[in-house]
């Protein structure tokens, strides 16, 4: 099957600032693709170019086999980072409007808007103005607006930012649902746990350049293996352990990177002497670690 999205040496400058620098990328159909990177890395600019809100200075973008973004706009669903609703419109009417803009018929859009609102527990808000919605309900409605026309490719820019845990779960389920139906999801985030839980593929962008790109497993394995430890006690005791090259101390948990040839058994023994160990896990590094390392290396370079 042809990929859902292909970027070929795409670049974008704003004045003197290079926002996206010759990025190439292929997103297969039916995948969940995570765009990660620090603030200002070029995630949003890349996404806006895919949505043809911005146009690249050079390079080509092929979305759903089309080089003409206008032609496929109706088959894309987009949830921007900066999102909002028309405050004075009724919720169902508003959803239907977004559906109609995507080419749905009026009756079909209205019926689907109501069905979605019912399904997400917002049925009684269908005929109220959207300004009466709470923040969380507003976020739900925005996500529904992204999905109302059953887009083949769903692009979510920072979908988890500012969500409470209930809505985080909701968005996660929506993403999984879309994939289950064989459609493609791209989302950007800087919460590594979210990316780790959901993504099939990871694309790490930093200062406009692609740093890492591949399956989640490949990306994680690109980092060095480490030991994850959960413990009760003073994390200061982790410092200066023999055979440990570096420590990511997070208070209750820590990641320890071993020197080549160091024995994990010996380390465990040392740890047990110092404090109560609740978990000891030898594994590949977390995405967080990979991210920090990649960004730090870049900074040093």
């Amino acid at each position: 099957m042809r990929p859902a999205l292909v970027l070929d040496r795409v670049a974008k400058r704003f004045g003197d600032v290079v926002a996206v620098d010759s990025v190439s990328l292929e997103v297969p159909r039916g995948a969940i693709y995570g765009f990660i990177g620090p603030n200002g890395a070029g995630k949003t600019t890349t996404i806006r170019m895919i949505m043809s809100i911005l146009y690249p200075d050079s390079g080509t973008i092929t979305v759903l086999d089309s080089r003409n973004p206008e032609a496929v706009k109706d088959r894309l669903g987009y949830l921007p980072e900066e999102k909002g609703l028309y405050k004075k419109m009724r919720t169902a009417e508003l959803l239907a409007y977004f559906g109609r803009l995507k080419g749905m018929r009026t009756g079909e859009a209205t019926a689907r808007a109501r069905r979605l609102l019912d399904a997400f527990g917002l049925g009684e808000w269908a005929d109220r103005k959207s300004e009466t919605l709470s923040k969380g309900m507003g976020q739900k409605v925005q996500i529904l607006a992204t999905l109302i026309h059953d887009p083949e490719l769903v692009i979510l820019d920072e979908p988890f930012s500012g969500l409470d845990p209930v809505n985080v779960d909701l968005v996660r389920n929506v993403i999984l649902d879309v994939r289950r139906q064989g459609r493609t999801v791209i989302f950007s985030t800087h919460v590594m746990e979210q990316a780790e839980q959901l993504c099939d593929f990871i694309f790490l962008i930093h200062r406009g350049r692609k740093v890492l790109d591949g399956t989640l497993r490949d990306v994680r394995q690109s980092g060095e293996p480490c030991v994850a430890v959960d413990f009760d006690g003073d994390g200061a005791a982790l410092q200066g352990l023999p055979g440990v090259r570096r420590v990511n101390d997070r208070g209750k948990t820590a990641e320890l990177f071993l020197e080549d040839g160091a024995d994990p058994q010996a380390l465990l023994k040392l740890l047990v002497e110092r404090f109560r160990v609740r978990r000891f896990d030898l594994r590949e590094p977390s995405l967080h670690e990979v991210f920090i390392r990649a960004v730090a290396e870049k900074r040093d370079a």
Binding site: K12, F14, M51, R67, N68, L79, P80, G84, Y86, L101
Partner: protein
């Protein structure tokens, strides 16, 4: 096209639902009603002025009072004369004699009715009356006089005419040497509005009579009483010089033609304003045009800002292109504005026809003719659309760079400065619709719609219409092109709004430097 239509449809439906729209729709009918009704209501609400007169001459007051009474009786005669076709209010109050003589009275001129009223009250031989008036006097005079002496003021009020006693009530002046001091006290205590002291020999005119009041702004009483007194004195002077009454009337005749407008108290303004109406009617349309163009294009600006500040803009842009969005918004709000403006025109057309009658004023044919004048209505609609397009393009561009309503409000003074020019030039252009100022301003596109509307009284030549409209159309195209260019950059901008200089740079910048769309590579 489908998306443009959808955006336009949404704009229209949403705007029509706002309070602001209904305020706009109702604004004009309320203004028009107020314009027609308030003078009438003010007239009715005017408080009664109590005054006293010290008559040192010993005869003038009595003569003036006779004139005042004759004047009021003349009004009764006029009500009777109008009655057959108008079925005046309070018809039943009138004496049977008046009801019967109605048709004959209607035949008389206003002046003849005045003379008849004086003759009915003053007795005498009625030498100066016309034959028809003489017949009325002979047949009905006694009955009318008897009715007039008996009828109460309350009954007369029901006739709805502008009787003097409804506004001015004369109270007797106290006798004795302290009379003036007493009246002065009453005036300062507010018990009396004013008092007159008529000098001993007004016919000689050596000394001034006096009018004493605390209120120096309301001169109606002084003018009204003074006029009655001067008329009387003038007649006495004629008599003293032994000028035959017929000769006197003849001498006065040319003057009376002038006076004729003035003697019908209260109507002198109506006649004056009616003459001026033709000249000044376009000014009303300029006002309406100004208000509608300004408020509707500002509506577009505020909607754009609202889409940005509510962050809905990027969701939209994933479905429509900036140009589609702009075109849809301009169209939708144009439809909103046209609905408002057309409702105004309908109100103007029907209002001027039926409203005056509703408030008991005579239907103003001139006014309703103006309300359906094709030149005025046609240019109003055309200039609304053209003016709106021009300012909409500019305000949408400016609105797109603003993030909050207060950003937009900060920009308004600069726009107001431009928009004030046609308001300030309205009166000078109304006076001289084809003067140099009018001609020059006609060729400055932001002013063209207002100034050309203003000049409709001229009207300008066809060549001027063609040239100014062409220039305006070209400017609209340029404004739309520049507005769209700014809009597609501005709507994605966050943070501090750019300076005007930067916005102009965007407009001039070639495609590619700013994030504008490139041609499809295929």
């Amino acid at each position: 096209m489908r998306r443009i239509f959808l955006v336009a449809q949404r704009e229209f439906v949403q705007n029509v639902r706002t309070k602001g729209f209904w305020f706009g729709i109702l604004f004009f009918p309320v203004m028009l009603t107020a314009f027609i009704a308030v003078p009438q209501l003010l007239e009715r609400a005017k408080s009664v002025r109590r005054y006293a007169v010290i008559d040192e001459s010993g005869w003038l007051l009595e003569a003036v009072n006779a004139r005042i009474a004759a004047n009021d009786l003349r009004r009764v005669l006029e009500v009777a004369a109008e009655a057959p076709d108008r079925r005046a209010d309070g018809w039943e109050v009138l004496a049977p004699a008046l009801q019967e003589s109605s048709l004959m009275l209607a035949e008389l001129s206003e002046e003849e009715r005045g003379a008849l009223a004086a003759a009915l009250l003053g007795g005498g031989d009625g030498a100066g009356l016309s034959p028809l008036a003489t017949r009325v006097r002979e047949r009905y005079g006694g009955d009318i006089r008897a009715w007039w002496d008996a009828v109460s003021r309350e009954d007369l009020r029901r006739l709805g005419s502008d009787f003097s006693f409804a506004r001015y009530v004369q109270v007797p002046a106290p006798d004795g040497p302290d009379a003036q001091a007493e009246l002065t006290r009453q005036v300062s205590a507010g018990e009396l509005f004013a008092y007159f002291v008529l000098e001993a020999d007004p016919v000689a005119g050596g000394r001034a009579s006096r009018y004493v009041s605390n209120n120096l702004t309301d001169e109606d009483l002084r003018a009204w009483f003074g006029y009655q007194a001067s008329s009387e004195v003038r007649e006495r002077r004629l008599a003293q010089e032994r000028i035959d009454p017929a000769v006197a009337r003849w001498i006065q005749a040319p003057l009376r033609i002038e006076v004729r407008k003035v003697t019908a108290t209260g109507e002198e303004e109506a006649i004056g304003s009616r003459d001026k109406l033709r000249q000044w009617a376009p000014v009303v349309f300029v006002y309406l045009l100004w208000i509608s163009v300004f408020s509707v294009s500002q509506m577009l600006m505020m909607n754009t800002v609202e889409e940005k500040s509510s962050r809905v803009i990027e969701v939209l842009l994933s479905s429509v292109s900036p140009v589609e969005l702009l075109a849809g918004k301009i169209t939708g709000i144009a439809a909103t504005g046209l609905t408002m403006v057309l409702s105004w025109l309908l109100v103007l057309f029907f209002g001027t026809k039926y409203l005056p009658a509703f408030f008991g004023a005579p239907a103003d044919l001139e006014l309703s003719a103006l309300a359906s004048d094709p030149l005025l209505i046609g240019s109003f609609l055309a200039y609304f659309v053209l003016g709106y397009l021009f300012f909409a393009a500019i305000l949408a561009g400016l609105g797109s760079v603003c993030n909050t309503v207060s950003d937009a409000q900060n920009m308004m003074p600069a726009i107001m400065l431009v928009l004030f020019v046609p308001l300030l030039s309205m009166v000078p252009i109304g006076r001289d619709p084809n003067g140099a100022l009018a001609q020059i301003l006609s060729y400055i596109p932001p002013f063209t719609p207002f100034v050309m509307m203003n000049r409709a009284a001229g009207p300008p030549t066809m060549l001027e219409y063609v040239l100014t409209t062409l220039l305006l159309l070209v400017s609209i195209v340029v404004a739309l092109w520049a507005g769209a260019k700014v809009f597609r950059i501005g709507i994605l901008l966050t943070g501090k709004p750019p300076r005007l200089r930067e916005i102009l740079r965007w407009v001039r910048a070639p495609v590619g430097v700013v994030p504008v769309r490139k041609e499809d590579p295929r």
